[in-house]
C-alpha cells in the first residue's frame, strides 16, 4: 500500500511539473471539465492486458493503450502506440514500429522492451484471448528502442494479428511489472499506462475517477479534465441519472431498450447507435449434439425454421439489431457473405421436418422435451429464451427453461455440458479466427466459454479452420471464411439469430462521441463536454 502511495506521490510531482510546462497550451485548448458516465459493473480486476473484455476496456482503455485502435477509415485501424506494422513474406514474423516520445504515467519512457515484455509475459501466457492467438509466438526481438519483431513458429496472417490489435495488444509498463507476480501486482488496481487519462481513485461500489494526463503524447489532448465512471448496477438508475443530469453518458445499452424511445425525446439527451460496429454481439442458439434429437440435422433445421427472426428483431431488440444469416455478421466489412443457406420463418415446414426426422407429435401436440439454458448476461438473451420456448412449443418441442446465474450457467453449459439448447451472446471480433471459429471447432477442452462445448464434430470444417489460420494471403483467407459460413449454415452446429450492437444515451453537451467502431472501449482522448 505504501509503495503505491509513494509512487503516486512521485507521479503527482512530475505531473505538476508537466502541467506547468504545458500550461499555455492546455489553457488555450477547450477544457472538457468533469465528465461522468454510467458503469454497470465493476470488473474483478482492471488490467486489460490480462482480461481482454469490454467490461474491463470500458474503464481501462482510457489509461492503458493498445498498439492500434479500430477506425472508420479504409484501413480499419488507427495507429496508437505502434506507428506501423509489416509482415514477413513467410508469415513467420511481424515487425512493429513504435511511437517515439511516449512516456508512462510515472515519467519513464515507453520502449520496445515494454511491448516485448507484454507480449511474452502477459498476452501469451495470461490473457484470455492472447493465449490462443499468440500460441505460436516464440520470441519478440527488440533491435532498437522503437522496433519490436514478433517471431512465430508457424505462418501467421498479418491480417488476423492486425485486426486483433485493438483487443489483444494493451501494453503494460515493464518496469512496474517485471519480476513480480503479474496477476497480483498492485498496478492492476491502480493502472499505469500511456493513455490520455491517469488513474485517480476507485471507491468500490461508487465510482472510478480518472484524471487528465497533461503529458499525453498527442498534443492538446485529452480535452476532458476528469472522467468519472459512476457505478450504477440497476438499469433503471442509469436512465434516471441521465435525466437528472447526474451522468452525461450511459453506454453499452445500460438504458433498457424499451426506455430508448421515451428517453430519446427528453430534451438534451440523444440515443446513439454508432460507435459499436466492431463490438458486434451475436445472438446464438447453442446446440448440444450429444442429444439424440438434436444430433439429427432435420431437427436443427426445424428449430431454425421455427424462429421468427423478424419478431426477435422487432419485439425483443426493438429494431436495434440485424437479422443474422450465419456466423459472420453482415456489418463486417471484410469477411461477410450473404451467399449461405438461409432458414425462413416457417412453422409448418418445421413440423414437417420434425415428422420426417421421425419425431411425430403425440395427442397433446408434443414431440419431445428439451432443456433450454438462456445465458443470464443480458436482458435480451433471457427474453429470447422466453420467446424460443414459445416458438418451440408452437412446433411441438416442449422446452423447459433452466435459469442460472452467470457462474452456474458457465459451469452447466461450458464445463458439464448439462444442457440441450442454450442461448449465448458471443462477440464477433473483426476476424473469425479470434473468437468465432471456436464456436464450432472440435477438440476444445471443457471449461472454455463461447466455444464448441456441444460435442459437434465436422472434420471438413475443422480442417478449413486450421487452413485459414495459417493462410497468409488476405483474399484467400476471405474465400476460406466464406466457405466457413456456408458450411456452418448448411450443417447448423449452432443457429445464428440476430446480430446486435449496443446503444448509448448521451447528453447533447458531449462532443466527439461515437467516432470510431470501438468507441465505448477506446481512449476518449478527444471527448469534450460543452456548455
Amino acid at each position: 500500500m505504501t509503495l503505491v502511495l509513494s509512487r503516486r506521490g512521485l507521479f503527482l510531482s512530475t505531473a505538476a511539473l508537466a502541467a506547468l510546462q504545458f500550461l499555455p497550451r492546455s489553457a488555450s485548448a477547450q477544457s472538457g471539465g468533469r465528465i461522468t458516465v454510467a458503469a454497470d459493473s465493476e470488473p474483478a480486476q482492471l488490467n486489460p492486458a490480462i482480461a481482454a473484455s469490454n467490461g474491463v476496456f470500458y474503464i481501462s482503455s482510457k489509461v492503458i493503450e493498445p498498439l492500434a485502435e479500430a477506425s472508420y477509415d479504409e484501413a480499419g485501424l488507427r495507429p496508437l502506440l505502434a506507428t506501423g506494422w509489416e509482415g514477413a513474406e513467410d508469415g513467420l514474423s511481424i515487425t512493429f514500429k513504435l511511437r517515439e516520445g511516449v512516456t508512462w504515467h510515472d515519467g519513464t519512457p515507453f520502449t520496445s522492451a515494454d511491448v516485448a515484455f507484454s507480449a511474452l509475459q502477459v498476452w501469451k501466457p495470461l490473457q484470455n484471448i492472447g493465449r490462443t492467438l499468440f500460441a505460436n509466438l516464440t520470441a519478440v526481438e527488440t533491435p532498437d528502442a522503437h522496433t519490436a519483431v514478433f517471431r512465430f513458429s508457424a505462418p501467421t496472417p498479418l491480417q488476423l494479428i492486425a485486426k486483433a490489435l485493438p483487443v489483444v495488444s494493451s501494453v503494460l509498463p515493464k518496469h512496474i511489472y517485471d519480476g513480480s507476480e503479474i496477476a497480483e501486482n498492485p498496478a492492476n488496481r491502480a493502472l499505469i499506462g500511456t493513455g490520455p487519462f491517469v488513474w485517480g481513485d476507485y471507491k468500490p461500489g461508487e465510482y472510478y475517477l480518472l484524471k487528465r494526463n497533461p503529458a499525453y503524447w498527442q498534443p492538446d489532448l485529452p480535452l476532458a479534465e476528469e472522467l468519472v465512471f459512476r457505478v450504477l448496477p440497476d438499469r433503471a438508475a442509469a436512465a434516471g441519472s441521465l435525466e437528472a443530469g447526474e451522468v452525461q453518458l450511459a453506454a453499452f445499452s445500460s438504458v433498457p431498450l424499451v426506455e430508448l424511445d421515451r428517453i430519446g425525446k427528453v430534451p438534451g439527451l440523444t440515443v446513439i447507435t454508432k460507435g459499436y460496429e466492431a463490438l458486434t454481439y451475436q445472438l446464438v442458439v447453442e446446440i448440444n449434439h450429444r442429444n439424440a434429437h438434436l444430433a439429427n440435422l432435420k431437427v436443427r433445421q426445424a428449430i431454425a425454421h421455427a424462429i421468427d427472426r423478424q419478431f426477435v428483431l422487432d419485439t425483443i431488440f426493438l429494431g436495434y439489431a440485424a437479422k443474422a444469416t450465419g456466423p459472420v455478421p453482415a456489418n463486417d466489412p471484410t469477411f461477410y457473405t450473404p451467399d449461405v443457406t438461409t432458414y425462413a420463418f416457417d412453422p409448418e415446414k418445421a413440423k414437417a421436418l420434425l415428422d420426417e426426422a421421425g419425431f411425430p407429435a403425440d395427442a397433446s401436440g408434443k414431440r419431445f422435451a428439451l432443456r433450454l439454458l438462456p445465458a443470464p448476461y443480458f436482458n435480451e438473451t433471457r427474453q429470447f429464451g422466453d420467446y424460443l420456448r414459445q416458438a418451440l412449443a408452437a412446433v411441438g418441442i416442449d422446452a423447459t427453461i433452466v435459469a442460472n446465474d452467470s457462474a452456474a450457467h458457465q459451469k452447466a453449459v461450458y464445463t458439464d455440458h448439462d444442457f440441450d439448447l442454450a442461448v449465448a451472446p458471443p462477440v464477433f471480433r473483426a476476424d473469425p479466427a479470434i473468437s468465432t471459429t471456436n464456436l464450432v471447432r472440435s477438440g476444445i477442452p471443457a471449461g472454455v466459454n463461447f466455444s464448441n462445448q456441444g460435442g459437434y464434430v465436422n472434420p471438413e470444417l475443422d480442417s478449413l479452420i486450421d487452413t485459414a489460420l495459417t493462410t497468409l494471403d488476405p483474399a484467400a483467407r476471405v474465400a476460406l471464411y466464406h466457405r466457413f459460413q456456408q458450411l456452418v449454415t448448411a450443417d447448423l452446429p449452432l443457429i445464428n439469430v440476430v446480430d446486435w450492437s449496443f446503444t448509448s444515451v448521451a447528453s447533447d453537451k458531449l462532443g466527439n462521441i461515437a467516432n470510431n467502431p470501438r468507441w465505448a472501449v477506446s481512449n476518449w482522448a478527444d471527448l469534450t463536454l460543452g456548455t
Partner: protein, 327 residues
Amino acid sequence: MTPALRRILGRLIGSIPVLLIVVIGVFLLLNSAGGDAVDAYLASIGGGDAGLAAKLRAEHGLDQSIWRRLIFTLGRLAQGDLGWSVALNRPIAAVIAERLPNTLWLMGSATALSFLAGSALGILAGRRPGSAVDRLLSGGSLLLYSIPGFWLGLVLSVIFAVQLRWLPVSGIETIASGKTGMDRALDIAWHLVLPVSTLGMIYLALFLRVMRSGMAEAWSQDYILAARARGLSESRIVLNHAARNALLPLITLLGLQAASMLGGSVVVESVFGVPGFGRLAQEAVAGRDTPLLLGVILVSAVLVILTNLLVDLAYGVIDPRVGRGGT
C-alpha cells in the same frame, strides 16, 4: 465486572457455536452451487481457455478438496483473518471497513425512523381500536406494507430525484467532492433520504401494525381493567399500561428486524446504488466468493447478536415478569 457486563460477555462467548453453524452452513451452501469463483470470473470477462481456468483454480486454492478448504477457512477465521476476496481482488477486512459505515447509516436511520414513527403511530391507532384514526393509519400502513420495496424505491426515485430533482438519484455521497466533516455528513444524509425512506417506510408499517395489534389486545387485559377501576387517567393508561405491554413484541421484532432489514436493504441498495453490505453479499453470491460472503455474514451476525443482547436487556427492563430465566 458488573453482572450485566458479565452477561454480555457470556452471551458473546455463547454465540460462538452459533457462528460456527452459520459459517459451516454458508460455506457448504455456496460450495454446493453450480460454478465456482473461477467460473464467475471467466463469465465476467467473456471467456478464456481451459488452461487459464485450471491456472486460476490453482491460484485460488479451488483445486483443493472442499473439506480441506473448509478446515483452512475455519483456521483462518479463528485467527481473526477474514481473507482475500476473489471477486474484488482485495483484502476482505478492507472491503468491509469501507462498506460497513454506509450500511450502518442506512440501517440505523431506517430503524430509528421506522421504530419511533411506527410505535408512535401505532399507539395513536391502538388508543381507540376501530376509531377513524385507527382505520386511517391501519389502512395506510397496510397499503404501504403491501407495496414491493423495489417498486416503492423506483417510484420515489422517479418522483423526487428524476422529476422534481430535489434529491440525488443514487450513490452514498457526491463523487470526489473533497468534502470533510460536517459538510460530508450532510452530503451523505442528503443521499440517504430516499433509500432510508424506502427501507424505513416498509418497516414503519410493520411496527405500526404490531404496536397497534398489541395495544388492541391489551385493552381486554385484566391489568387495564384494574387500572381503569383505580380511576387512572386515560392517557396514563394508554402510555404506562397498554403501550408498555404492547412494546414487548415490538422490541422482539426490533431484534429480528436487524437481520431482516439487512436482507431488505439488498434491493434498496441496488435501486439507489448505495455501496452497502446487502449489495456486497449479492456480489459475493454472484461471484461465488465464499470468503467474502463469510466475512459479510460474520460481521452482520455480530451486529445482530449485539442488537439482540440490547433487546434482551431492554426486555428485562420493560417486562418485570421476565427475569433472569429469560435467557
